[in-house]
């Protein structure tokens, strides 16, 4: 099962803004260039791309919490 890892340290968000639905929910199809979340650092939001194809299997890192580079953010099967 491929993991989607955080490319950098920061704060991980599941949704594009607090009033929107998460980018992905379990069972959604995932394409390689789909955005699955945002990492905020240095006043910048960086889109995290799936870089794999498959079916979304859920977030691993909680919403709005700190992550380190290389942390698993979500799973795709």
């Amino acid at each position: 099962m491929p993991d989607i890892q955080s490319p950098l340290p920061g704060t991980f968000y599941h949704a594009p803004d607090p009033n929107s639905a998460p980018f992905k929910k379990p069972g959604d199809a995932v394409a390689a260039d789909d955005t699955i979340g945002l990492v905020e650092v240095m006043k910048t939001f960086i889109e995290v791309k799936a870089e794999v194809e498959g079916t979304f299997d859920g977030f691993v890192a909680p919403n709005a919490e700190p992550v380190q580079a290389g942390d698993v953010l979500a799973k795709v099967r």
């Binding site: 890892q5 006043k43 910048t44 580079a69």
Partner: protein, 324 residues
């Protein structure tokens, strides 16, 4: 003949030792945040230590070489991959035209310094190639590097296979200790607040960049009551505008201290409680968000001794590399 940028990373900028002499005009000195690492990277590839290299924060760039050269990577710990083969940090290694350099996930620290034999030879502005994006100075057209940029290299000095003995590098403490010299407006907070500033543990906030590093987690500061002077804002953390020295710690609203770094403004209307000593400014450049930090009170004598010790550490490395 040069380097082509295939991926830029998050914010990868050309930096050297900056452009001193214009701060009174509001133009910051700029340059590498972790000057120790930038200098050593240049030493490793046989450059003048003030040559321009790349500073990459949190993520490395992907670079393709169109000429043979030498490269050294220092600073943060991140897997260094040349055509997929891992290379050691704090070492110079040869690169052939057509090879691709990229990086794995960040393990420790925050900023990579990449030096190339001959240095990056983009045009200098006000005496420096350092990128100051807000002022559109230096770098590539005043900005960070971007996909498709071609970075020219200067004439190589004396590149060779060199490596720094890691025992000569500075050691990292946890929590990281940043030494502070209390300053001009220290009297504006109560004694209890002064004590708490040094006793409490602080955490690097995500809003940390080349202009300033913000810290949170400590208690809000208590101000000594006063009638705000003419020209100062109404908040107790406001002053009549003053100069900010490099390393100054401003605390807007008395809540989250911000250590002003290389690209900071030269003055403003917030009080500053003191300054992080020059010897510890390199360390700040290597702090990731959420890192635990303690501020340690020192006097001028200690600050100057620390500055000397940092200079001596660089000299020891210089001599060790010269001896081969």
């Amino acid at each position: 003949m040069a380097i082509e940028v295939r991926k830029a990373g998050l914010s990868t900028t050309i930096q050297d030792m900056g452009r001193p002499g214009y701060f009174h005009l509001g133009i910051p000195e700029g340059g590498a945040m972790d000057r120790f690492s930038m200098r050593v990277a240049n030493m490793l590839v046989g450059n003048d230590e003030t040559a321009a290299g790349l500073e990459a924060v949190f993520m490395g760039p992907e670079l393709e070489f169109t000429q043979d050269t030498w490269v050294a990577v220092t600073g943060a710990t991140m897997p260094i991959l040349l055509d997929g083969e891992e290379k050691p940090g704090w070492s110079a290694f040869p690169v052939k035209a057509g090879q691709v350099l990229n990086f794995g996930f960040l393990k420790e620290g925050a900023r990579l310094y990449i030096a190339f034999a001959g240095g990056i030879d983009t045009p200098a502005q006000l005496g420096s190639r350092s990128t100051y994006p807000i002022g559109a100075l230096g770098g590539v057209d005043g900005r960070a590097i971007a996909v498709g940029d071609v970075l020219p290299l200067g004439k190589p000095g004396n590149p060779a296979a060199r490596s720094v003995d890691t025992a000569l590098l500075r050691e990292q403490k946890s929590p990281v200790e940043l030494r502070v010299l209390p300053g001009l407006y220290w009297h504006r907070i109560t004694e209890a607040s002064q004590q708490r500033f040094f006793d409490e543990e602080w955490t690097v906030a995500p809003e940390a960049d080349r202009m300033g590093y913000r810290f949170r987690g400590g208690s809000p500061m208590e101000f000594v009551p006063r009638e705000q002077p003419f020209g100062a804002g109404s908040d107790p953390s406001n002053i009549v505008d003053g100069c900010y020295a490099y390393g100054s710690i401003q605390v807007p609203g008395g809540t989250e201290p911000i250590v002003l770094h290389r690209d900071a403004v030269s003055g403003g209307g917030y009080f500053t409680i003191g300054a992080v000593i020059s010897a510890d400014m390199d360390l700040i450049g290597q702090l990731q968000p959420n890192t635990k930090v303690r501020f340690v009170k020192v006097d001028m004598e200690t600050a100057l001794a620390a500055r000397k010790a940092r200079r001596e550490r660089l000299q020891t490395i210089r001599e060790a590399l010269a001896a081969g």
